[in-house]
């Protein structure tokens, strides 16, 4: 199983490239020129993102360093534990939609502390792998495209994250519990 998975993930990108290039050859498209032409926007796009990400990541790191994050966790913990979320996993569940690097660090800590094959380890892995950082996704995509009013996007993202957390707990308990 593991070898098979490893092979798949190692082969995906090169194979994809091969298919795209062979298709270009068949269609007689000047692939290199197209590549250079298309890539021109890339630098601009990445630079456009700087103010948005600097703003967001500064706020997140202030929020964590000041201890306000811990305070929020302590406040929300009783509620989440009451809803059936294991206390050890609560910080990860709350951090997941806010900070990608923070959540990844938290998940690694949980896996290191409880062991990857423990209930908490498996739950942390599932939770970490099953969703993306909502705040980051919205900041990057809407920031780069110059969208200022996000409509209901944040609400939808956060509610879906909540469903993902509940689904993770449910399935990990069912399969490994």
């Amino acid at each position: 199983m593991m070898n098979w998975l490893e092979t798949v993930s190692l082969w995906t990108i090169p194979l994809l490239l091969l298919i795209i290039l062979l298709h270009a050859v068949v269609k007689k498209v000047p692939a290199y020129d197209c590549f250079v032409e298309g890539g021109k926007d890339g630098f601009q796009l990445a630079v456009t993102l700087i103010p948005y990400l600097v703003g967001m990541m500064t706020a997140i790191s202030v929020f964590r360093a000041s201890g306000a994050m811990d305070l929020l966790l302590e406040t929300l913990k009783p509620l989440l534990v009451f809803l059936g979320i294991p206390a050890e996993i609560v910080p990860l569940a709350i951090l997941r939609p806010i900070s990608g690097s923070g959540a990844l660090g938290m998940a690694s800590n949980l896996i290191a502390e409880y062991g990857p094959d423990s209930f908490i380890g498996r739950l942390a892995s599932t939770m970490q792998g099953s969703t993306d950082t909502t705040l980051y996704v919205l900041t990057v995509y809407f920031g780069a495209a110059g969208i200022r009013y996000m409509g209901g996007a944040l609400k939808v993202g956060l509610l879906a994250d909540l469903v993902g957390i509940i689904a993770s707990i449910f399935i990990v308990t069912l399969v490994f519990g």
Partner: protein, 197 residues
């Protein structure tokens, strides 16, 4: 709403620091946070240039078009506002496929392109359109088949079976994706009923 979260995190952070005596850490956090963001953006340059270049080959050779045609039945249902032949559709589908295949860094530039095209479709307004919100819902839920990063971490910590969480992850990500789409639809129709569109 996002500016409220931003203000809240900063103000709550600074006020909390007054009581916890962590002003020094907060001052440091301001600059490390800013630095991390710039480093991240510079890391994105290579990824963006590369995948946008590849995207352009696919666009010129017509591969993007055939791919869009293949997935049209689903795409039209998910994004009823986008004309099936519009370039936005190609970018949207590439973004979703890249996410499913676990190519997170390819998904980002394609997603940005998609939102830009959708913005043009929406009369260049600075407001998120219905399709943009659907696309964001799909991206934040991030339907993935193989969560590569977490498998690598599990391997690092000596898991007997690093990939055993693939099944549970697919279930969880499937649930949150379906939930995201349903919630998105629900909000849209509620807004429609209230006559706000």
């Amino acid at each position: 709403m996002i500016h409220l979260i931003w203000m809240f995190m900063l103000i709550a952070g600074i006020v909390t620091a007054m009581f916890t005596g962590r002003m020094e850490e907060v001052t440091e956090a301001i600059f490390t946070g800013a630095e991390e963001a710039v480093v991240l953006c510079f890391g994105l340059i290579s990824v963006m240039v590369f995948w946008l270049g590849i995207m352009n080959i696919m666009k010129s050779s017509g591969l993007l078009k055939s791919f869009t045609n293949m997935l049209r039945p689903i795409a039209v249902k998910l994004f009823p506002d986008v004309p099936a032949n519009h370039p936005a559709m190609g970018y949207i589908l590439s973004n979703i496929s890249a996410n499913i295949m676990g190519l997170g860094n390819a998904a980002t530039p394609m997603g940005i392109k998609a939102v830009k095209e959708l913005r043009r479709l929406n009369g260049d307004k600075e407001e998120a359109s219905r399709s943009m919100i659907t696309l964001m819902a799909l991206n934040t839920a991030s339907l993935t088949l193989i969560p590569t990063t977490i498998i690598a971490i599990r391997m690092n910590y000596g898991s007997a079976s690093p990939a055993e969480i693939v099944g549970t992850t697919i279930f969880a990500t499937g649930c949150s994706t379906i939930a995201a789409l349903c919630i998105d639809r629900y909000f849209y129709h509620r807004k429609l009923k209230k006559g706000r569109i």
